[in-house]
Symmetry: C2
């Protein structure tokens, strides 16, 4: 049975994102809420109104599509945007090679730790006798690749101070930190990284994780960010937390089978997904970021005056297929 929420809840919801079914709330006249919302746009309204020229396509070779075994409520797909070649190039090439080899098919999500990560790959990777061999020729990458020389300026510089770095901003669609000499991607909600062992040259990209909690920024420059989830993160973040330390699924029945991981560029045309992201150098992005840092829509009494880089995700939208 589906119950439509009363109209006021919908309006308030659109304006605030945080008020619903408050039993003691006065029902404000819908007109009042609508007028207030129209007077000062929300960040979402800015994004919706951005001209076509402020959007850019995400290359199908930069889209990794993970299909988990269906859950109680249907298919579970997670779409990941791979980071551009200015960062983590060798790992991303490994990931493309693993996807083309269908290497992840039949592996699983093996660990979900609350307020931290969901992690997937070969569940027998620790066991030399049972570990699934990776394709020969995968690059071995180490910590020198975690940051790169800052040869180009970011597309957007965040004016707010940061607890972890001299500066933050956006480059190639990803949150970054920089110090005028080096630049590196940061760990935010939805970031995808390369799990590794103690030694920094032990992660190939075959074992990946996605952040499902508060930004674990201490991992920046210690582990490689190779992508970000742009659709379907809830299929990872709402999985049961593992009962063992670090959220490991010590109960093997909890493992979530991975049916396939493919590059969108390798998928049949009809299934191919097309996404665009808002250009971080555009006027629309600048306005979106300013409004994210200073909410003036009806709900907000006191604008913050700033936003940390993980509260400024680059907006993404689906593009209808050509079929």
């Amino acid at each position: 049975m589906i119950r439509a929420l009363p109209r006021i809840a919908g309006l308030v919801a659109a304006a605030t994102g945080l008020a619903l079914t408050v039993s003691t709330a006065r029902a404000l006249p819908p007109g009042q809420a609508a007028t207030a919302a129209a007077a000062v746009p929300t960040p979402a309204q800015i994004v919706a109104a951005a001209p076509a020229s402020d959007w850019q396509a995400i290359a199908p070779d930069d889209l990794l599509v993970m299909d988990l075994a269906p859950g109680a409520s249907g298919p579970r797909r997670v779409v990941i945007q791979l980071i551009g070649p200015q960062f983590a190039r060798a790992w991303v090439e490994n990931i493309r090679e693993l996807a083309r080899a269908h290497w992840w098919d039949g592996t699983s999500v093996n660990r979900v730790q609350d307020n931290y990560v969901a992690q997937w790959g070969d569940p027998n990777g620790d066991d030399k006798a049972k570990a699934k061999p990776v394709p020969p020729g995968l690059a071995v990458v180490n910590e020198r690749a975690y940051t790169v020389a800052q040869t180009t300026a970011p597309d957007f510089v965040n004016p707010a101070p940061d607890a972890y770095a001299a500066h933050t901003g956006i480059a190639g669609g990803f949150g970054v930190a920089f110090d005028g000499r080096r630049i590196w991607p940061v760990h935010c909600y939805g970031s995808v990284g390369v799990a590794r062992n103690l030694s920094p040259d032990t992660g190939t990209g075959a074992e990946l994780y996605a952040v499902i909690g508060h930004a674990p920024r201490p991992l920046d420059r210690n582990i490689a960010v190779v992508g970000r989830v742009i659709e379907g993160i809830e299929n990872l973040s709402s999985l049961p937390r593992g009962p063992a330390p670090l959220g490991v699924y010590s109960d093997l029945a909890m493992r979530v089978p991975i049916r396939s991981i493919r590059l969108a560029s390798d998928m049949p045309g009809a299934d191919r997904l097309r996404f665009e992201m808002l250009k971080a150098g555009s006027a629309s992005f600048a306005r979106y970021a300013r409004l994210r840092a200073n909410r003036h829509d009806a709900f907000f009494i006191q604008p913050a005056g700033g936003a940390d880089i993980c509260n400024l995700p680059v907006p993404v939208r689906r593009v209808p297929g050509r079929r």
Copy 2:
């Protein structure tokens, strides 16, 4: 079937929290990892070694115990520490009164939005004909109570800069921001707040939410933080996300029934839960915070040099009962 993880994984896990079953990882000699971990302690080791005098009891009147209907894997309990009387006093008094009246029993979790909040209370609160009346005499509180005059110094001052405020720190066990004139609690993962409608005097405390994503700091000073989840947040954060906008459970079958919400002080003695928190003014907390900002244990190559206030949660531990 339970499989014990190989010893190396356990060691790496303890040291890093982010490396497991990497199929291509070299198996480091356990001795090497153990030595490295012993040389520089982890924040968790500092907390475990803190003397009894660095801990303080959390009053049973400050513990709110929410029992959801059992899930597939058993009971689902969420324990919330209510914020101290220096903040949000009127809302917390309302919450105690609602708990003593067993007001929430039979209500439900009605909304779970990814990377944002899980929200509970009267599912019919919007419908005047069906809304559950709140006890008479609940205080009506408005935005003047969202911040208070900074009459006392925080217990701990975070040296790292913040995107949202002049300063951050800890007061009464909670993350706070301050500017030398006013002080206010901040929204972090696990924070519990008072949902309201557009008008700031519409939240009594009967409708509450818990943060289950990246810190939504723009809500600071716009909505009242009244507590933080100290145990069982996974019982909220792993719930299915609602299909309607804002994560509302428009499919009523998704609603998660609340069996009861009680103050620990009102629970029978044998069931009473006892918790302690690390004093934020203690030497142990200072060392814990310094190590959280500068990880030196074996996994980390590059310490961050700082931590945002939401990455410095005040540690809590259970105290065995007297039975």
